[in-house]
Amino acid sequence: FPAMSAAVVAAAARSTLRPPSLQTLLEGTPESATVPYTSSSGADSESKTADKSSLTRKLKHDVIEGVNQLIQEIAGCHEQIAEQAIEHIHQNEVILTLGSSRTVLEFLCAAKEKKRSFRVFVAEGAPRYQGHLLAKELVARGLQTTVITDSAVFAMISRVNMVIIGAHAVMANGGVIGPVGVNMAALAAQKHAVPFVVLAGSHKLCPLYPHNPEVLLNELRSPSELLDFGEFSDCLDFGAGSGSLQVVNPTFDYVPPNLVSLFITDTGGHNPSYMYRLIADYYSADDLVM
């Protein structure tokens, strides 16, 4: 049978091997009561179409409600994560962050509002240099900020109390897809026993297990962000025969779960090995057909 349905079969096996939950057993009886009803009303076509349209209307209503709920959750996650800032950032601490993330910005500002005084090191996040934007925002809110290059992360890590970054996605095994450079920061943090905290709204959870994350889930952007077109155009020309220059510009980095100390989501702080549970809450096993 085709490769894609293996996940479906596994999900089906998972649901059949478990004993029927009390809820499904209780719900079983009203279902069997409605089934004979719809089959016996075959003669009355009008009421059947009325049933159908009311069913579709109900379905549409449910779906729209679900989507609205999701929109609300996504809009509100920054606040809920920022609420927990006060528990993690203490007086006179030095925080390191990389690139720019709105969640991180609100997290740090929430702590500042609760009158915690701390310093922030922002790694600039080449080649897009979004760290510069974050630094400007932080200074505007009154935080003492220092901008460093990505290469200086290992040099400065021993002076840092905590690394806080935002995530692009969180995988089922607890691994993190983040802006390029975070794996380096995570390794540096591990070397110096600095807690590596990842902020992620629960909409960022992904049910996939990364089997080749560096390539598969990455996006390779245009090399023009690294090199200006005019200077290197002769090296980049393959036909010239004078050797070829390749430029790789990945957008994302994969951080394995053993390097992450804590995930802060809108439901609270969690261990990386716990993330699969949150994924089970949001994704039904039956829907995991990719």
Binding site: F1, A6, A10, A13, R18, P20, N173, Y276
Partner: protein, 382 residues
């Protein structure tokens, strides 16, 4: 100051005093040797027959038929039924392609079919008795115990028990039993499909032990035209490496045999390690052929992923705290030369690999990380 006490001297004295006691604790259907029957079966499947093993097997056959005759003379219906279960089980077990737990499941399904009970309660009691018999026949096999337990739970916890009519309830039970057997049989295909993504072109896979699930995975990858090569450990004393390499060379997969001690030497050219499991325990660790723990330690220290392929009926309610915390499964080891009698031999057939050295488990319930296993176990056993 605080040195380890030479407790091995005391232990030896104690064990030399107690063998007569140990014999009486075995039940009537227990294997007459202390050799683990599970590993004997696997050795038989692998075709590794030593002279000791032959002698013991002959003695065992003589022993069991002696027991059986003794039981037939007893006029208890229950004993005859349980004799049938073991027979049925042994018939199924002889097929080399069938996992032991699946054989047990088939045997138990046959018990339901052949049962002459007239009430649900009676049937359940019969089933429980048959399962206990099977379990006591070989206490060292984890997948057997786990498979029997899961089967009983799966089959008896159904809404069939609400039916008034006994025959329809019984046929529903039989249906569920067949389904469980089917899932277990199909498990290998599902696992093979799920793990295909993790094998990429040009990778080097290290395999330890002869797991039929891992073989299925590699076969499927070869069928999907993936280019990879396999390093297999020799797998003393079972000689699994030689068997695996002959199977793989039939499929035109490049294979290299390693001594068990050459694993660390070759580990840097390895991309991933694949092993099967005899049992998956609550902590997320696995119990597998001796040598797995060693390989997992080496792989972990060199940042290589260790993937375990295990069917869901191997999930057991055990929590070993260290290597010796399990029922010992001993098997005879041939060194090719005569060993002086005063020299002891470590004859344990299996070891326990803690979950921190495992990366992922491929099961028919999906891809799981070791911490997910305890959740799944709770769901399965409830």
């Amino acid at each position: 100051m605080w040195r380890r006490s030479p407790s091995f001297i005391l232990d030896e004295r104690r064990s030399s005093n107690s063998p007569p006691m140990a014999d009486t604790t075995r039940g009537p259907f227990q294997n007459p040797d202390s050799i683990s029957a599970y590993y004997q079966t696997r050795a038989a499947h692998h075709g590794v027959i030593t002279s000791d093993w032959l002698a013991q097997a002959q003695a065992a056959v003589g022993g069991v038929s002696g027991d059986a005759q003794h039981d037939l003379s007893v006029t208890d219906l229950g004993n005859e039924k349980s004799f049938n279960v073991i027979e049925e089980f042994n018939n199924w077990r002889k097929q080399p392609d069938l996992a032991e737990a699946v054989a047990a499941i088939r045997a138990l399904a046959a018990v339901i079919r052949a049962s002459e009970a007239s009430t649900m309660m009676e049937l359940e009691i019969e089933l429980k008795k048959a399962s206990d018999t099977l379990k006591s026949w070989d206490k060292t096999s984890i997948s057997l115990t786990a498979g029997c337990d899961l089967f009983i739970r799966y089959v008896t916890r159904t809404s069939a028990l609400e039916y008034e009519d006994f025959n329809s309830a019984k046929s529903r039970l039989l249906e569920r039993a067949e389904k469980f057997g089917e899932i277990s049989c199909k498990a290998r295909r599902i696992i093979a499909m799920l793990s295909q993504d993790f094998i990429f072109d040009g990778c080097t896979i290290l395999v330890h032990g002869l797991s039929r699930v891992v073989l299925e995975i590699l076969k499927t990858a070869a069928q999907n035209n993936k280019l990879f090569r396999v390093l297999c450990t020799e797998g003393r004393p079972d000689g699994t490496g030689v068997l695996l390499s002959s199977e793989l060379s039939k499929l035109d997969i490049p294979v290299k045999l390693l001594l068990d001690s050459a694993v660390a030497y070759s580990m840097d050219e390895v991309d991933m390690v694949f092993v099967g499991a005899d049992g998956v325990v609550e902590s997320g660790g696995i119990i597998n052929m001796m040598g797995t723990y060693q390989i997992a330690l080496v792989a972990h220290s060199m940042n290589k992923p260790v993937y375990v392929a295990a069917e869901s009926y191997k999930f057991a309610r055990l929590y070993p705290l260290d290597q010796k915390d399990m029922a010992p499964a001993l098997r005879p080891i041939e060194f090719g030369v005569k060993i002086p009698t005063k020299v002891e031999v470590e004859r344990s057939a299996r070891d326990y690999t803690p979950p921190q050295y495992l990366t992922l488990l491929f099961t028919d319930l999906g891809v799981l990380s070791p911490s997910v296993v305890s959740d799944e176990l709770i769901q399965l056993y409830l």
